[in-house]
């Protein structure tokens, strides 16, 4: 029977020849993830099973990234609780502050999640790893606890919607714009319970980082997972990182889809999601005059090296507007060091930015840039819900890193073309290093 990549990965992990949408299966999980907010509840639930040790100390990954470096006493206690558990269990992939980065940038970077894997994480943006051709989905803490105990979980096989992106991307249009446009088109529950499969010629030319951004936001359309068919770009990314075997799956040509949606990317300009839903998008030319107080460039959505390069291209030899605070958060220590080595930090600091250590921090209103009443932020993050980054009367506008950087310079929401900056390779250029 013809299957999609999502169905094939589920079948392989359930020990079945084939599965079909709607079927309930129990499957072996390759990697399970928890963080400083979700793991404490999972650990308490795991204790209730009476088991002494987790299913596999190498396959449970614990990353303190949300409220770290500890923002207050209660956060410190949650982290200590998780740290003690990690030590007691001898967890291989526990990352202390200094090694830790934002989990969804860190795990692919360290080769912990690989193509063909079935991954669950007690964090909704676990779907990010779909960029590698893995099936990755977010669950709650109790589901994580069940996997900690037995290494298996029940799944419902989702229907798949295929998104075909064709045409040539315009300057300064990256993965963020493609996914925001898509969410704007189908709505925040447009893919509820479903798999989103991203393909087409415009995807083939999209960088690994751009693909992580797209898969990351599949959850913002309600999807179970977002997934790409692994290709040479994935192969190049994974080689040298993987320390165990992995497998490239692909969808059969005659696989069944719930729907096939075609999107002409040549018609898409940089997108901005207005408050208070990621689906509330407008093209940058339709934004109007919106003054801003703060810009955040970072997160599991857009805190990777090419995102920082893209921002640096815009900020080079410029100063941010005096009324704006620009906060830049490299997602992992490796990205942090590489950005520093390439001279991006000089560009950021000269522009007037502050550079934060890796943390989820302000994206969920934790620390490192919480908003006051009435303040407006342009953020490269993933959610603009009411109160997400601070006061319930603050406003969040989501964009790609280049738009965020240009907005910081101009003090209002604006694209980099207004500054006369040229996009040489869709945020992939090395101009700033050379």
């Amino acid at each position: 029977m013809a299957m999609t990549i999502t169905e094939k990965i589920l079948a392989a992990h359930a020990g079945k020849k084939e599965v079909q949408p709607g079927e309930l299966i129990e499957a072996e999980v390759d990697v399970a993830l928890g963080n400083d907010i979700t793991a404490p509840i999972a650990i308490e639930q795991f204790r209730k099973t009476g088991l002494e040790s987790v299913f596999d100390r190498e396959r449970l990954v614990l990353v303190p990234d949300h409220f770290t470096p500890n923002k207050d006493i209660k956060s410190a206690e949650q982290c200590r609780f998780m740290r003690r558990f990690a030590r007691e269990q001898g967890i291989t992939h526990y990352f202390e502050v200094g090694e830790a980065g934002i989990e969804h940038a860190l795990l692919p970077e360290q080769g912990i999640v690989l193509p063909g894997d079935l991954v669950i994480g007690a964090d909704s943006h676990t779907c990010t790893y779909g960029a590698l051709g893995a099936l990755a989905t977010g669950v709650g803490s109790t589901d994580l606890a069940a996997v900690m105990a037995v290494g298996r979980l029940w799944f419902k096989v989702p229907e798949t919607v295929k998104f075909v992106y064709f045409g040539q991307r315009r300057p300064w249009v990256d993965g963020k714009d493609l996914i925001l446009f898509t969410i704007g088109k189908i709505g925040v529950d447009g893919a509820l319970y479903q798999a989103m499969e991203f393909c087409g010629e415009a995807i083939e030319s999209l960088s690994m980082d751009g693909r992580f951004t797209m898969a990351n936001m599949a959850i913002e359309a309600g999807a179970k997972n977002g997934i790409f068919i692994p290709d040479r770009i994935v192969k190049k990314y994974v080689e040298g990182r993987a320390k165990r075997p992995y497998r490239f799956f692909e969808s059969d040509a005659d696989a069944r889809y719930k729907e096939i949606i075609e999107i002409d990317v040549s018609q898409i300009e940089p997108q901005v999601a207005f408050p208070h839903l990621p689906s509330n998008v407008r093209g940058i030319s339709q934004v109007g005059d919106i003054p801003i107080d703060q810009v955040v460039i970072g997160s599991c959505t857009n805190g990777r090296l090419s995102d920082l390069i893209s921002a640096a291209c815009v900020l080079k030899e410029k100063k941010i507007a005096p009324q704006v605070r620009l906060i830049i958060i490299p997602a992992t220590p490796v990205i942090y060091r590489e950005a520093m080595r390439r001279g991006l930090f000089d560009i950021f600091l000269d522009a007037g930015a502050v550079i934060s250590p890796p943390t989820c921090g302000p994206c969920l209103g934790g620390h490192m840039g919480v908003l006051a009443k009435g303040e407006r932020v342009v953020a490269t993050t993933n959610r603009n819900f009411v109160g997400r980054m601070g006061h319930k009367e603050s406003e969040i506008y989501l964009s790609n890193p280049a738009v965020a950087a240009a907005s910081a310079v101009l003090g209002r929401i604006a694209g980099p073309t207004e500054l006369g900056v040229e996009d040489r390779q869709g945020g992939q250029n090395d101009a700033v290093s050379g």
């Binding site: 907010i37 979700t38 404490p40 509840i41 308490e44 639930q45 209730k48 099973t49 949300h66 409220f67 923002k71 207050d72 209660k74 956060s75 206690e77 949650q78 994480g121 007690a122 964090d123 909704s124 676990t126 977010g138 669950v139 709650g140 803490s141 109790t142 589901d143 606890a145 069940a146 925040v188 529950d189 509820l192 319970y193 309600g222 999807a223 179970k224 839903l277 969920l364 209103g365 934790g366 919480v370 959610r383 819900f385 009411v386 109160g387 997400r388 319930k392």
Partner: protein, 164 residues
């Protein structure tokens, strides 16, 4: 299982940041979370709701983060049941795992106003608006899922099963 209480009506896409803002996720004690449940969305709910009251909402309830703190806060607040047009995927799983009953019914959501008294029969899926007299049906929850709710959630259910 039957529940009866005042309906608190909410719109569509009530996200987990609205249910329990992330600024309170530096702890996970149910009672501490319950204090802040829905405080940005409807401050009156936080102060005026009474244990037993029922949430009624539009589509995609519980969208956003995977935080289990959301159903924990709602349950600890004393809400036994949520009726919505649809639920976000992760919230749906989390609610059952936490022992919080949830029902999907377009008709019931459209036929209940804020402040109405509602009665829910979990085994039959019947929802009655005692204020207007209207009766609605929803897909009944399978008995083993009802048992999870009755046992206080998935872990309680497993523990009870292991003992038996």
């Amino acid at each position: 299982m039957r529940f009866q209480g005042r309906a608190w009506k909410f719109g569509s896409n009530v996200d987990t940041d609205a249910i329990i803002p992330a600024r309170y996720l530096n702890e996970s004690a149910p009672d501490a979370l319950a204090v802040h449940c829905m405080e940005d969305e409807n401050p009156r709910f936080a102060s005026e709701m009474k244990p037993g009251d029922i949430l009624v909402a539009g589509t995609n309830f519980g969208c956003g983060s995977s935080r289990e703190h959301a159903p924990i806060a709602i349950k600890a607040k004393g809400v036994p049941c949520i009726i919505a047009k649809s639920f976000a995927r992760i919230f749906y799983r989390n609610a059952f795992n936490m022992g919080l009953a949830i029902l999907e019914s377009n008709e019931a959501v459209d036929g209940v106003s804020d402040g109405d008294t509602v009665e829910v029969d979990l085994s039959s899926g019947t929802i009655r608006n005692l204020t207007t007299g209207a009766v609605f049906s929803s897909n009944p929850i399978p008995s083993f899922m009802q048992q999870i709710i009755y046992d206080g959630g998935l872990m309680g259910h497993i523990a009870k099963r292991e003992k038996a």
